[in-house]
Amino acid sequence: MSHRMARSFQGLILLGLCIFFASKAINGQLTWYINARFIPLTLFGILFLAILAQTVFAEVRRSRAEDEDNEEHEHHHDHEHSPAGLWAMLIPLLIGVLIPPRPLDSSAFTSKGFNTNAPLVSAESSAQLFETESEERNILDWLKLFNYNDNVTQFSGQTASVIGFVYFDETLGENQFYVSRFVVSCCAADGFAIAMPVQWNDLSSLEQDAWVQVKGTIEAIVIDDRNVPLIVAESVQEVPAPERPYLFP
């Protein structure tokens, strides 16, 4: 590959990455991959990729102009370009474009597993959860509360309203399913699922991975020697998938 051709190819890939990241930022899908607090960093990346692409294209134009000025001009090839390196950077673009984007769901449970307890937090942050309205708590909040309090019966009878996706599990009792959510601290690589069991009489109307809002009252039950909050549902309503599918601790 000639020096200038390699440069042009570099420029195109940089531009491609820039557009790919920018499109994810615009359609809100960045949070399918990373924790929302890293979005500013990605925005910096988009800007910087654009600057680099522009610099490379300017260099290509310059070198072409130089050639036209002086046909016999000998080039100094100060950087060896390995085509392998260039092709490798196409892989992320291909994966991003060819595989239809979908946030992590119950299909990831086989390798990533799921939890009915939330070891994810320090004890102090669960203290303020007492003050939040019980209907405002999400799945992670409930699991934190049950994890860091010895007396969990105090939560029995409180009203809960949580959003998550449906997961059917054989180990649960009849007329029960899990309402689940992925928790992502950094990027999808560290994502893991948490789940609350739900008691509901009309399971047949629900589909695996469908997003639902579950409203009902909390009951403390024990699964595998651990206290787990069960929701005795009064309503289970299908809702559109939330814009941010993961919870960010």
Binding site: E59, G85, P103, L104, D105, A188, A189, D190, F192, P249
Partner: protein
């Protein structure tokens, strides 16, 4: 006939793979860009003798200086490799460079604050930074025995060859050159990031983490499992503390500490990048010594209480 169930299984696996892969990639690219930019700026704005003058030639002093250099260059493990290679080219002693490579992803202000917000200013933080320093300096000292850097580095930088002079050029011209170097290094190191992310995502797609965690009890096995997880997950050191929080309660202090010390030094993507800069035998040392020292530290904490 291939049953339809197979296709839905394949689609599911592919989805997990793509999401995890892009997760690592999207997260790492800005950090890699920052590291390669630092490398480009070092190339055009410093000259060879300048760096050699800053760093002592004596092994111990040189290793400690190298380990502390992360405070000036706050890079994490994706960015540190191209920068270290550049600093070698600028005459940084081998021992200082190796210590920098291993310590910088932890001993820098950004990671310090991220770890502090996860664990508070507590024991975990102190031991993490202390052990990372000790291990980085130790490996640096081991390499100071080697006088001939061509036994360690893949490319040996001769003082007369390939030395561009940027001195007479204007600042805009210097920045233009720095950006072109940034691009080259981004592609050069980026492919190892891609390869590492592919492996890590593949393992996460097909190897069950819950089984891994389930067998991970007991004082020895728990440390080994956490060390393995540090390598497999390949998370950036700026955020690994938050991930480690997820294991508090399930895992002992010692095993989480070894995860936090070893992970930034060795994981799938960084090993891929090391192999680009160092010869194979050197890469083995860079992996093995931190592995044994992190394992030992984890075991000591597990047995001596904590």
């Amino acid at each position: 006939m291939i049953p339809a169930a197979f296709f839905s299984w394949l689609a599911d696996r592919l989805n997990v793979f793509a999401t995890v892969f892009l997760g690592i990639f999207v997260e790492a690219v800005p950090y890699l860009l920052l590291g390669t930019l630092a490398s480009g700026l070092v190339e055009v704005f410093t000259d060879r003798d300048q760096i050699a003058r800053w760093v002592s030639k004596r092994p111990a002093a040189s290793s400690i200086t190298g380990a502390m250099m992360g405070i000036i260059f706050p890079v994490c493990e994706c960015g540190v490799v191209p920068l270290t290679r550049r600093l070698f080219k600028k005459g940084l002693p081998l021992s200082a460079g190796i210590s920098f490579l291993l310590a910088a992803p932890v001993l820098n202000p950004i990671v310090l604050f991220s770890a502090a917000s996860a664990f508070g200013w507590a024991d975990m933080l102190f031991w993490r930074f202390f052990l990372s320093l000790i291990i980085a300096v130790t490996v640096g000292l081991v390499f100071s025995v080697e006088k001939d850097s061509s036994n360690v580095l893949k490319t040996v930088f001769d003082s007369h060859e390939h030395e561009h002079s940027y001195k007479d050029k204007s600042v805009t011209e210097k920045i233009r050159q720095a950006l072109l170097i940034t691009v080259d290094e981004f592609f050069d190191m980026g492919r190892y990031l891609v390869l590492g992310a592919t492996l890590a995502a593949g393992l996460q797609t097909f190897v069950s983490q819950s089984t891994l965690l389930a067998i991970g009890s007991g004082p020895i096995l728990s440390v080994l499992i956490m060390l393995l997880l540090a390598v497999l997950l390949s998370i950036c050191s700026t955020v690994d503390s938050f991930v480690a929080l997820g294991f508090v309660g399930t895992f002992s202090f010692g095993s989480i500490l070894s995860f936090l010390v070893f992970g930034p030094m060795v994981d799938i993507k960084s090993v891929m990048m090391y192999a680009q800069v160092f010869k194979r035998r050197a890469v083995i040392y860079i992996i093995a010594i931190p592995f044994m020292m992190s394992l030992l530290a984890g075991l000591l904490f597990n047995y001596l209480g904590k």
